[in-house]
């Protein structure tokens, strides 16, 4: 309880600093007050267009994230098994890790329509994070537990859940936690470059064109909130799964 009060006070402190800064600057194009941003957000929320944009971007960014989780995990499993594949993928993963989002986005615009741009960009951001974390988890699997399961004749499904899943879930959890935030950041950035119709990125772009700084702050707040919400929801599901596996 005390911790929560302290956290709220810290947030309040920075809001006051923001408000004071904006008032001192007195240039709404450069910096709006938090009150202005909040008012704009309240204006946006009831409109159908707002929800369409949120659903459009969330649907695509989360699809890219889910696809990245699946492919990253799958590649890590096979790389853990076959050294050749691990060596083959190593430069590809290093490149994926290092290439800037803007380069991905411009290249991706040539391949896919701007509508599905964020799916591809978030997928490419997510894959190396998940791959590297899961491969680390697979490398740290204790081979002696495999011997133990052979001696006790543990059935395959129970062996998978109790031995492999229980050891790999913490790695999956940290990979997913890291990836989901980055997916939202890179997805929104890709949308600003590709400007797909009806996306949050398009709204950010329009805010820039028309110098609507309040809109920019309001949409940024939306991205932060939805990203946080997705992370919390996803992590809660993983936490439940971890608890279930821990207790079997």
């Amino acid at each position: 309880m005390k911790k929560r009060v302290i956290s709220l006070l810290c947030v309040f402190f920075w809001l006051v600093v923001w408000q004071a800064g904006a008032m001192a600057l007195n240039q709404r194009i450069l910096l709006v007050t938090p009150v202005d941003a909040a008012v704009k957000l309240i204006e946006l929320i009831p409109s159908a267009d707002f929800w369409k944009s949120v659903m459009f971007s969330a649907g695509r960014i989360l699809s890219g994230f889910a696809l990245g989780l699946t492919v990253g995990t799958g590649l890590a499993v096979f790389s853990g098994r076959y050294v050749f594949l691990r060596k083959l993928l190593s430069p590809f993963i290093s490149v994926l890790k290092a290439v800037p989002v803007a380069s991905f986005t411009i290249l991706a615009l040539i391949w896919v329509s701007s509508k599905n741009l964020s799916v591809l960009v978030t997928f490419l951001i997510c894959v190396p994070i998940v791959y590297i974390n899961m491969l680390e988890g697979i490398d740290s699997l204790d081979p002696k537990l495999k011997e133990m399961s052979t001696v006790f004749g543990i059935p395959p499904m129970r062996r998978f859940v109790g031995i492999y899943l229980s050891q790999l879930l913490p790695y999956f959890r940290s990979a997913a936690g890291l990836a989901i935030g980055l997916c939202w950041k890179s997805g929104a950035a890709a949308e600003v470059i590709g400007i797909p119709d009806g996306s949050i990125g398009e709204k950010l772009y329009q805010a820039k064109i028309y110098l609507e700084t309040a809109d920019l702050f309001a949409w940024t707040a939306v991205i932060i909130f939805v990203s946080w919400l997705c992370e919390k929801a996803f992590m809660s599901v993983i936490k439940l799964l971890v608890k279930r596996v821990e207790k079997m």
Binding site: D142, K144, E147, T150, F152, G153, I154, R158, G162, E246
Partner: protein, 192 residues
């Protein structure tokens, strides 16, 4: 049927560990294997459990088997109770496992991840897992290692009760454990 070991030979490079070891481990009896470090006791157990192929010789061992390994070999992320259920399946419910954990002095730890338990507690969980698993033959490699005297007495009593009617092959360095627990003793020298 007991465990019949015939003319086992095993070397690691130039290091001869077993050189023609043979023994009939009596059915439903506890046999202690004693011997100095490096005499091949753990290697013999690994071969009998089917984890290591011998260079030559045969092992006839009825199934199913269970074991306490030299290391605990527990899933550190799972609870004590889950580690046991991993091998027993639905044979015991949570309450029964909690009751058995209590009997070996492990209270309030059934829902704790094994990584949070002390070395002695982990050893007891590993031992209980082996004792509750469905088995004809039990292989115990220094099962009471790392336990203080009082706990060791409690656990040895429990172990003796739980292994009645089973074939047990157990490795130890401790003469007192051997006298208390075993029906027969074999001494292993270098090269078996």
């Amino acid at each position: 049927m007991g465990v019949i070991v015939s003319d086992l030979k095993k070397s690691f490079g130039d290091n001869v560990v077993l050189n023609g070891f043979s023994h009939n481990f009596t059915d439903k009896k506890v046999t202690a294997i004693m011997g100095q470090s490096g005499s091949g006791k753990t290697t013999l157990l690994a071969i009998m459990m089917g984890l290591l192929p011998p260079d030559s010789g045969t092992v006839q061992c009825p199934a199913p088997i269970s074991a306490v390994f030299q290391e605990n070999r527990l899933c550190e992320n799972l609870t004590a109770s889950a580690n046991i259920r991993l091998v027993t399946g639905k044979k015991y419910d949570r309450h029964e496992i909690t009751a058995e954990l209590l009997r070996i002095g492990l209270s309030n730890c059934e829902n704790k991840a094994v990584s949070q338990l002390s070395g002695g507690m982990k050893r007891r969980v590993a031992l209980l897992r082996a004792l509750l698993a469905e088995s004809e033959v039990l292989f115990l490699d220094e099962p009471f290692k790392g336990l203080d005297l009082d706990t060791k007495n409690l656990v040895m009593e429990y172990c003796k009760e739980m292994t009645k009617g089973k074939t047990v092959i157990f490795v130890t360095h401790d003469q007192r454990e051997c006298e208390f627990f075993s029906d027969e003793v074999i001494e292993m020298n270098m090269f078996g």
